[in-house]
C-alpha cells in the first residue's frame, strides 16, 4: 500500500510539473505584459518595473525562479494589486469558491442520483420522461445562459433571491443552482442507464428471490452497483464545477477564485495566473486520486494497489 501511494505521488508530481511548465511558456508566448496598459508608461519606469519583478532576466532564469517559488509555495506579489501577495489572494478568494463549489457538488450528486434512480424505477413512465427532459435541458443549456436566466426570473421579475454577491445563504441559491445544472443532468442520465442495466442482472433476481422488500433490493443491491460509474465521473465533475465557476462567479459578482482567475488573465498578472493555475491543478489531481481510492472502497473487485498475490484469489483453487 505504501509503495502504491508513493508511486501515485510520483505521477502526481510529474503531471503537476507538466502543467506548471506548459502554463509558464504559454503565458510567455502571449504578446503583451502586465504593464502594457492603455496609458503609455515612460520607458525608464517600465524598465525599472521589469527589473523589480525580475522580468528582464532570461527566460530560463525566470522559469527556474518560478519553479522555486512554486515548490516553496511563496507565489510572490501580484503585479496589479500591490497590497496583496498571490498567497493572500488565493486564501481570500478560495474560501468563497470552495463553499460555492461544495454546495453545487452536493446538490448535483443528490439531485442527479434522485432523478436517475427515479427515471430507472419508473422506466418509460411519466417520471422517466420528465426527468430525462429536464436532464436534456440541463445538459444543453450553457451555464452562462442559465445563470442569466435564473437571475432575470428569480431576482428581477419575482425578487425572491438577490441578483448578485455572496453574503447570506439566500445569495448562494442561484449561483449554486446554475453551477449544478450540468453535472446534475449528466449524473441523472448516467445513473439512469446504469440502474437499468443493473436491474437486468441476475443478482437482482437472486435478491428478489430471497423475499426482501423491493426498497431493500434497490438500495442495498441495485444502487450501489449502479453508482460506480458516477464515482468515476466525480473527478471530471469537480473540474467542471471549478471551471464552470469562472463564468457563474462573474455573472453573480462573487469575489471567488474563478473571478480572480479570469481577471488575472485579462490583466496579464503573471504571478496570479500561475498561482491560480497551479492551485487548480493540485485540486484536480488530488480529486482524481481520491476518486481512484473511492473506487476501491465501493467495488471490492477493484484492487487499486495492483498486487494480486495477496487477498482471496489464491484460495480459489482449494
Amino acid at each position: 500500500m505504501t509503495r502504491f501511494l508513493l508511486r501515485r505521488l510520483f505521477f502526481v508530481l510529474i503531471s503537476l510539473w507538466v502543467i506548471i511548465s506548459a502554463t509558464f511558456f504559454l503565458m510567455k508566448a502571449v504578446p503583451g505584459g502586465p504593464f502594457s496598459a492603455e496609458k503609455k508608461v515612460p520607458d525608464e519606469i517600465l524598465k525599472s518595473l521589469e527589473a523589480h519583478y525580475g522580468l528582464d532576466k532570461p527566460l530560463a532564469v525566470q522559469y527556474y525562479d518560478y519553479l522555486k517559488s512554486v515548490v516553496t509555495w511563496d507565489l510572490g506579489p501580484s503585479f496589479r494589486y500591490d497590497a496583496e501577495t498571490v498567497n493572500q489572494i488565493i486564501n481570500r478568494t478560495f474560501k468563497i469558491s470552495l463553499v460555492l463549489g461544495l454546495e453545487a457538488l452536493l446538490l448535483s450528486i443528490a439531485l442527479g442520483l434522485f432523478f436517475g434512480v427515479m427515471a430507472a424505477l419508473y422506466h418509460n413512465k411519466f417520471q422517466d420522461y420528465s426527468s430525462m427532459v429536464l436532464a436534456v435541458i440541463g445538459m444543453s443549456v450553457p451555464s452562462f445562459i442559465l445563470a442569466v436566466f435564473l437571475q432575470y426570473i428569480f431576482a428581477i421579475k419575482f425578487d425572491i433571491f438577490p441578483a448578485g454577491r455572496f453574503e447570506s445563504p439566500l445569495h448562494h441559491v442561484l449561483p449554486a443552482l446554475s453551477l449544478a445544472a450540468l453535472p446534475t443532468a449528466f449524473i441523472a442520465r448516467l445513473t439512469r442507464s446504469n440502474m437499468l442495466e443493473v436491474l437486468q442482472q441476475d443478482y437482482i433476481k437472486t435478491a428478489r428471490a430471497k423475499g426482501i422488500k423491493e426498497n431493500a433490493v434497490m438500495i442495498k443491491h441495485a444502487i450501489r452497483n449502479a453508482i460506480l460509474p458516477v464515482v468515476t465521473y466525480l473527478g471530471p465533475l469537480t473540474a467542471g464545477i471549478l471551471t464552470g465557476s469562472f463564468v457563474v462567479e462573474n455573472i453573480y459578482g462573487i469575489p471567488g477564485l474563478g473571478t480572480q482567475f479570469v481577471q488575472s488573465i485579462t490583466n496579464r498578472d503573471y504571478t496570479v495566473i500561475m498561482g491560480t493555475t497551479v492551485f487548480y491543478s493540485i485540486i484536480l489531481v488530488f480529486m482524481i486520486f481520491v476518486v481512484d481510492m473511492l473506487y476501491g472502497v465501493i467495488d471490492p473487485r477493484i484492487n487499486i494497489t495492483g498486487d494480486n498475490a495477496k487477498g482471496g484469489n489464491a484460495n480459489e483453487f482449494q
Binding site: 443478482y203 428471490a209 423475499g211 426482501i212 473487485r301 482471496g312 484460495n315
Partner: protein, 330 residues
C-alpha cells in the same frame, strides 16, 4: 405422499413489440413432499418461465398469468399480492439460478447476502444470523466458513459460488427448492459435486426440489420424477424409470437418443433432433413437435393431442397413443 405444489393448466404470456409470446401454454404437474421433480426441455420451451412463475419472479408486465392455478401448501399463489409473496419467497420457496458468476451481488460480502433473508424472515439478530450463515456454509461444504463469510463473490470460484447460492436459497429452511439449471454453467467435475451436495441436503432437510435442466444425465442421478416440456406444454411425465425405459413421446425418445452412451460403437454418431421449436407468438394449432417428428400423422397438424394415461404415473401427449392410432407403424 402429500402434495406440496400443484400447478394446474398454467398459461403465461409475455407482451412484446412483435406480439404476445405464449411462453407457457397449459402446464400441469405436481410436486410431493420430499420429492425431486425434474423439468426437462430445450431452450425456450418454457421451463424457466414455469419455475419463475411459481414464485412470481417473472416481470409483470410484460409477463402475465393468463389462466391456471398454482397451489402451494393448498394455498393459491396466482392471486397472492406482492406483499404476500415477500413472505413466500426465500422463506417457503428458495431458488437457485443458472449462472453463479452473475447471480451473487459483486459488491456485497457473501455472509451478508446469506444473512439478509435470515434477518428478514426469521427476525434473527445480526449476530445469530452470522452464526447461522457460518453453519449454512458448513452445510454446503465450504471450507473455513468463518473466513469465507467476510469475502466477496469474486474471491470464490464458480463451484464455491454455486454452493453459496445454495446456502442462500436454503437459509430459511424452505419447503421447496427451485433449481434453475444449477449445474449448466459449471464444469463437469463440479457439476457432480453440486448434484451430490443437493442430494445430501435433501436427505438431511427433507426439502422438495424442482430441478430444471436440459441435461438428462443430471436428471438421471438426482430426481424421482420427470416432466418433459416442449413449446410451452408438458408432453410427457412419469417416474424416472418410466421416462428412461419406456418413453412414449417422440420428443422424449429423441432427447434420449441424443445422449452419448459409453457402450456405443466409436463410429456411430449422435442422432440430433433436427429443426427448431415453433414460434410461440403464433403457436401451431396441432402438436408443437409435429414439424420435427418422424411419425407425424395428419391429425398432428390439425389438433394437439390430450395427455394419454400410459400408467398410473405416466402420461404422454401424443396421438400415437390414441386408441384409433393402434397399429400405426412408427
Amino acid at each position: 405422499m402429500e402434495k406440496l405444489l400443484e400447478v394446474k393448466d398454467l398459461h403465461v404470456s409475455f407482451q412484446t413489440y412483435s406480439g404476445e409470446v405464449q411462453a407457457v401454454r397449459g402446464v400441469s404437474f405436481d410436486v410431493k413432499k420430499g420429492e425431486t421433480v425434474a423439468i426437462v426441455g430445450e431452450s425456450g420451451c418454457g421451463k424457466s418461465v414455469t419455475a419463475q412463475t411459481i414464485i412470481k419472479l417473472i416481470p409483470m408486465p410484460p409477463g402475465e398469468i393468463k389462466q391456471g392455478s398454482i397451489l402451494f401448501n393448498e394455498k393459491e399463489i396466482v392471486t397472492k399480492s406482492k406483499k404476500e409473496m415477500f413472505e413466500i419467497r426465500g422463506k417457503e420457496i428458495g431458488m437457485i439460478f443458472q449462472d453463479p458468476m452473475t447471480s451473487l451481488n459483486p459488491t456485497m460480502k457473501v455472509g451478508n447476502q446469506i444473512r439478509e433473508g435470515l434477518i428478514k424472515h426469521q427476525r434473527m439478530s445480526p449476530r445469530a444470523a452470522t452464526e447461522r450463515a457460518i453453519e449454512l456454509l458448513k452445510l454446503v461444504e465450504i471450507p473455513q466458513p468463518e473466513k469465507r463469510i467476510n469475502q466477496y463473490p469474486h474471491e470464490f470460484s464458480g463451484g464455491m459460488r454455486q454452493r453459496a447460492m445454495i446456502a442462500i436459497a436454503l437459509a430459511c429452511n424452505p419447503k421447496l427448492l427451485i433449481a434453475d439449471e444449477p449445474t449448466t454453467a459449471l464444469d463437469v467435475t463440479i457439476q457432480a459435486q453440486i448434484l451430490k451436495l443437493m442430494k445430501n441436503i435433501q436427505k438431511k432437510m427433507g426439502t422438495s426440489i424442482i430441478l430444471i435442466t436440459h441435461d438428462l444425465g443430471v436428471v438421471a442421478d438426482l430426481c424421482d420424477r420427470i416432466v418433459v416440456m416442449y413449446a410451452g406444454k408438458v408432453v410427457e411425465q412419469g417416474t424416472k424409470r418410466e421416462i428412461f425405459k419406456n418413453p412414449q413421446h417422440p420428443y422424449t425418445k429423441g432427447l434420449l437418443r441424443s445422449i452419448p452412451r459409453l457402450d456405443q460403437e466409436k463410429e456411430t454418431s449422435l442422432i440430433p433432433i433436427f429443426g427448431t421449436p415453433p414460434d410461440l407468438i403464433s403457436p401451431p394449432d396441432g402438436c408443437g413437435f409435429c414439424e420435427r417428428c418422424d411419425d407425424a400423422m395428419n391429425i398432428c397438424k390439425l389438433e394437439d393431442a390430450e395427455l394419454h394415461q400410459v400408467s398410473e404415473t405416466h402420461q404422454s401427449r401424443c396421438w400415437l397413443l390414441h386408441p384409433m392410432a393402434q397399429g400405426v407403424e412408427s
